[in-house]
C-alpha cells in the first residue's frame, strides 16, 4: 500500500527540505563552551526557580568529573568548547502557527507539521533550536485533564508534577552526557495523562536544530497514569553545516499500573550531528511500553532506549530500524531491565548499512534475581549493502534467575543477487530494485509507524538509493 501512501502530503519531500538553512537572528546565544556562567545565564534567561538552577550546577560539576564510557564510538571530533549550549530563537512561544516569524513558520510548513496537526494529531509541540516556539493541544484533551506543554511552562506551572519525576529515571550520573543534559537542558515537552484517559490521537513534538555548531538538549517527561493510554511521536531534523552539532536530550517515561505508552521516533538529523540521546521508561504492574524507533540521520548516534519492567506482568516491545550510510556510525539498540515477576519483553531490531556506514546493534537484557517468569524474544537482523559497510551485533544478556524463557536470534546478510535480478526482470532498475528490497526489509517497522512517518521513512530509503549506482 506504499503507493497509496505516496499520494499523501509527504510526496515531494526530499533531503533538500531538511537541508534548508534559515538565516535567523537569535535573541540570545550563550557563549560557546561550558562554564558555570553559561549555566547560570541559561537559568536566568528562563527565569527559573532556584531548585532548578541548583540541579543544573550540580549536574555541571558531575559532567566535569565523569569519564566517557569506554565502549562508546569515537566522538573525539566533538569539541564541547565549540558547541553553543543555548540558542534562543527570536520569538516567544505561540499557539498559532500564523503568529510565528515567517522563516520559522516556513521551516515547519516544509516539514509538513501544521498540515499533520490538522489531520491526525491531538496536540503538537515544535522546538526550534533551544526553545519551543509552538505548542497547541486540542480542547477536548484539555477537558479530560491531559497536560501537554513545553517543558519551561511545566517547570513554572506544574512544579508539583515535574519536581518528583524530573531526573528521577535518568539521573545526572547515569552517564557523562546525561550530566551535560541536566546542566544545560532547554525546551522539550511535558505530557501528563490522567488516570483512565485514552488519548486516541497521537501527540507530536518536532525538534528542529537550525543554528550551526549548536547543541539541543531538550527534556521530555511523560507520565501516563493508571489505566491511561497515550501515543507520543517525536521527530527530529536539522540542516547540514560543516561544524559538529550535538543532540543530548533526555526522555523520561513513567507508565503506571495498567497504562500503555507508545513512543515513536523518526530521527533524521543531518550528518554532522552527534546524537547522544538518552531515553528511559519505568513500567509498573501490568503496564505496557512500546518503542518504535527509526534512526536515519546523524554522524554518530548512541541511542539505547531503556525500559525498566519494575511491575509484575509489565511488558515492553521495541521495534527499531537503523540505516547507516556513508560516513555514519550509528550505534543503536535497546535495554530492558526485568525486576517484577512474569514480565514480558520483545526486541525486534533491523539495521541497514551502506556506502561504508556502520550500523551496530548494542543491547542489554538484564533479568534480575526476583524476576521469575520473565519471557522474551530478541531478534536482530542486519543487511549490509556492500563490502565497505559494517554491521555488528553486541547483545548482552544477564540472567540471575532460573525460571525464565528468553530467545535470541541474530542474522547478518546481504541482498541476494537473484532477488535483484528477479525484480529487474520485471522492469525495475537496479537502484529501484534495491530500494524496494530494503523497503521490504524495513516493512515491519514502517507498519508500526504512523502513516506519514512510514511514508517519510520510505522516502528516506529511496533517497539513499537515488543516483547511488553508477
Amino acid at each position: 500500500m506504499a503507493e497509496e501512501r505516496k499520494k499523501s502530503r509527504i510526496d515531494d519531500v526530499a533531503r533538500s527540505i531538511y537541508d534548508v538553512k534559515d538565516a535567523v537572528e537569535y535573541a540570545y546565544k550563550a557563549d560557546a563552551g561550558l562554564t558555570e556562567d553559561v549555566v547560570r545565564e541559561i537559568s536566568a534567561q528562563k527565569d527559573e526557580p532556584d531548585w532548578m538552577l541548583e540541579k543544573r550546577l550540580a549536574a555541571l560539576a558531575l559532567y566535569r568529573k565523569l569519564d566517557i564510557a569506554p565502549w562508546m564510538p569515537d566522538i573525539s571530533e566533538l569539541d564541547m568548547d565549540h558547541i553553543d549550549t543555548y540558542v534562543r530563537p527570536k520569538t516567544d512561544m505561540k499557539a498559532r502557527w500564523e503568529d510565528l516569524p515567517e522563516n520559522i513558520r516556513e521551516t515547519f510548513d516544509r516539514l509538513g507539521i501544521p498540515e499533520a496537526e490538522k489531520k491526525s494529531l491531538a496536540g503538537v509541540g515544535a522546538q526550534y533550536d533551544s526553545e519551543v516556539v509552538y505548542h497547541n493541544v486540542q480542547e477536548e484533551m484539555e477537558r479530560q485533564g491531559v497536560i501537554y506543554v513545553d517543558f519551561e511552562t511545566a517547570v513554572k506551572e506544574y512544579p508539583e508534577l515535574v519536581k518528583p519525576y524530573f531526573g528521577r529515571l535518568i539521573t545526572p550520573n547515569y552517564h557523562k552526557f546525561a550530566a551535560l543534559h541536566y546542566a544545560v537542558w532547554s525546551g522539550g515537552s511535558f505530557v501528563y495523562v490522567p488516570k483512565g484517559v485514552d488519548v486516541k490521537m497521537p501527540l507530536q513534538s518536532y525538534f528542529r536544530l537550525n543554528a550551526p555548531g549548536a547543541g539541543q538538549f531538550e527534556h521530555t517527561l511523560i507520565i501516563v497514569e493508571e489505566g491511561a493510554k497515550c501515543h507520543f511521536i517525536e521527530g527530529c531534523s536539522a540542516p547540514r553545516y560543516n561544524v559538529a552539532n550535538l543532540h543530548a536530550g533526555a526522555v523520561e517515561l513513567f507508565v503506571k499500573k495498567g497504562a500503555t505508552l507508545r513512543y515513536s521516533t523518526i530521527e533524521n538529523w543531518s550528518k554532522n550531528m552527534y546524537n547522544l540521546n538518552t531515553k528511559r521508561a519505568l513500567v509498573e504492574d501490568d503496564g505496557h511500553m512500546i518503542w518504535v524507533s527509526g534512526s536515519f540521520g546523524s554522524h554518530t548516534s548512541c541511542l539505547y532506549p531503556d525500559t525498566v519492567l519494575a511491575g509484575d506482568r509489565s511488558s515492553c516491545e521495541f521495534t527499531g530500524i537503523t540505516f547507516a550510510g556513508k560516513g555514519q556510525f550509528l550505534d543503536t539498540g535497546s535495554k530492558v531491565e526485568c525486576i517484577g515477576r512474569d514480565t514480558h519483553l520483545s526486541i525486534h531490531s533491523k539495521s541497514i548499512s551502506k556506502g561504508g556506514g556502520a550500523a551496530i546493534y548494542r543491547g542489554v537484557v538484564h533479568i534480575g534475581p526476583k524476576a521469575a517468569g520473565a519471557k522474551g524474544a530478541i531478534s536482530c537482523e542486519s543487511l549490509m549493502l556492500d563490502n565497505e559497510s559494517r554491521s555488528d551485533t553486541i547483545p548482552d544478556i544477564i540472567i540471575e534467575n532460573d525460571n525464565i524463557d528468553l530467545g535470541h536470534e541474530a542474522k547478518i546478510g546481504r541482498i541476494p543477487e537473484e532477488d535483484i535480478y528477479y525484480l529487474m526482470s520485471r522492469g525495475l532498475s537496479e537502484e529501484d530494485a534495491k530500494a524496494m528490497l530494503v523497503r521490504g526489509f524495513a516493512e515491519p517497522i514502517s507498519k508500526a509507524l504512523p502513516l506519514e512517518y512510514a511514508v517519510e521513512m520510505n522516502r528516506l530509503i529511496d533517497l539513499e538509493f537515488e543516483g547511488s549506482i553508477g
Binding site: E4, Y422, R426, G440
Partner: protein
C-alpha cells in the same frame, strides 16, 4: 509476421563452463515455441541468457529483439522492451505486497503511472482469471506461497505486464490438473498475433491446451532437432534417447 527475437550462434558460460554451444533461434509475433530436452540440457540457461541474467555470460553470438541488438543490455531494459521470464523457482520477498510490486513493475515496463483504482480493478480481474483469492493482492510477494501458487503468481505478472515475448520456464510443473488447465487458459488468453510465447516443459499436459507452432529439442547445449507439433508426440512415444546421438552423446 514480424520478427521479435533472433539469436545467432549463442554461446553461454557460467564461470569457466560453457553450457550453450552455438544456438540459433528465431521467434516471430504470433508464434508459440516449445523447447524440450532432458534435465541439464541448457533450457533454463537459454531463457536466462535471453533475459540477461548477470550470472550467465554470453561469450559469442548475438541476441536481437525487434531488430535491436540486446546482447549487452541490462535485464531491466530488456523487460522494458517487452521480454518476460516466468521463473522456474520464483523468489519470495517479505515486506513487499503483490499489489505494490506488480504496480511498480507495470509502471516501469509501460512507462506510464498506474492509477491506483483502475490498477486495483485490473489486478482483481486477473486474480479471478487464475482462480486466486483477491486477498493475494495484499500478501507479500510469493511469501508463504506453495509451489503452485508461485507459478500462478508468475502468470499473473505476465498477464498484467503484457509482454511481447513471454518465456515460461516449466510453468506447468508442480501444478495439479485443475491448475494446469487454469494456467493454460491464461496463457492462451494472453497469446495473440502481436506477441509470442516460448515454453519449456517436461510434461505434455500443458501442450494439450496450447498447440505449439515450433518445437526445438535441446540436448547438451545444442538444438539437435526442430519441427512442428508432431515432435511432441514423437518425444512422448520414444523419449529423448534417440536425440542424444544427434548431440554427439552416446
Amino acid at each position: 509476421m514480424s520478427e521479435l527475437l533472433r539469436i545467432e550462434n549463442l554461446h553461454v558460460s557460467v564461470g569457466e563452463k560453457e553450457l550453450l554451444h552455438g544456438l540459433d533461434l528465431t521467434v516471430r509475433a504470433g508464434e508459440v515455441h516449445v523447447i524440450m530436452g532432458v534435465n541439464g540440457a541448457g533450457k533454463s540457461t537459454l531463457l536466462h541468457a535471453i533475459m540477461g541474467n548477470p550470472a550467465y555470460t554470453v561469450t559469442e553470438g548475438r541476441i536481437w529483439f525487434e531488430g535491436q541488438d540486446i546482447t549487452e543490455l541490462s535485464t531491466d531494459k530488456r523487460a522494458r522492451l517487452g521480454l518476460f521470464l516466468s521463473f522456474q523457482a520464483p523468489i519470495s520477498v517479505a515486506g513487499i505486497s503483490m499489489e505494490n510490486f506488480i504496480r511498480t513493475a507495470k509502471t516501469a515496463v509501460s512507462g506510464q503511472q498506474q492509477r491506483l483504482f483502475p490498477f486495483k480493478r485490473l489486478l482483481k480481474a486477473r486474480l479471478q482469471d487464475l482462480a486466486m483469492d483477491p486477498s493475494y493482492a495484499e500478501r507479500y510477494l510469493n511469501d508463504g506461497f506453495s509451489g503452485g501458487e508461485r507459478k500462478k503468481s508468475e502468470i499473473l505478472q505476465m498477464r498484467i505486464l503484457d509482454p511481447k515475448l513471454a518465456m515460461l520456464d516449466e510453468t506447468d510443473s508442480g501444478l495439479d490438473v485443475d491448475a494446469v488447465r487454469i494456467v493454460s487458459k491464461n496463457i492462451s488468453d494472453f497469446h495473440n498475433e502481436t506477441n509470442a510465447v516460448i515454453l519449456i516443459t517436461h510434461l505434455n499436459q500443458i501442450l494439450k491446451f496450447i498447440r505449439p507452432d515450433h518445437v526445438h529439442i535441446l540436448i547438451g547445449g545444442r538444438i539437435v532437432k526442430e519441427g512442428g507439433p508432431e515432435l511432441v508426440d514423437e518425444v512422448e512415444a520414444n523419449g529423448f534417447d534417440a536425440y542424444r546421438s544427434l548431440a554427439g552423446e552416446a
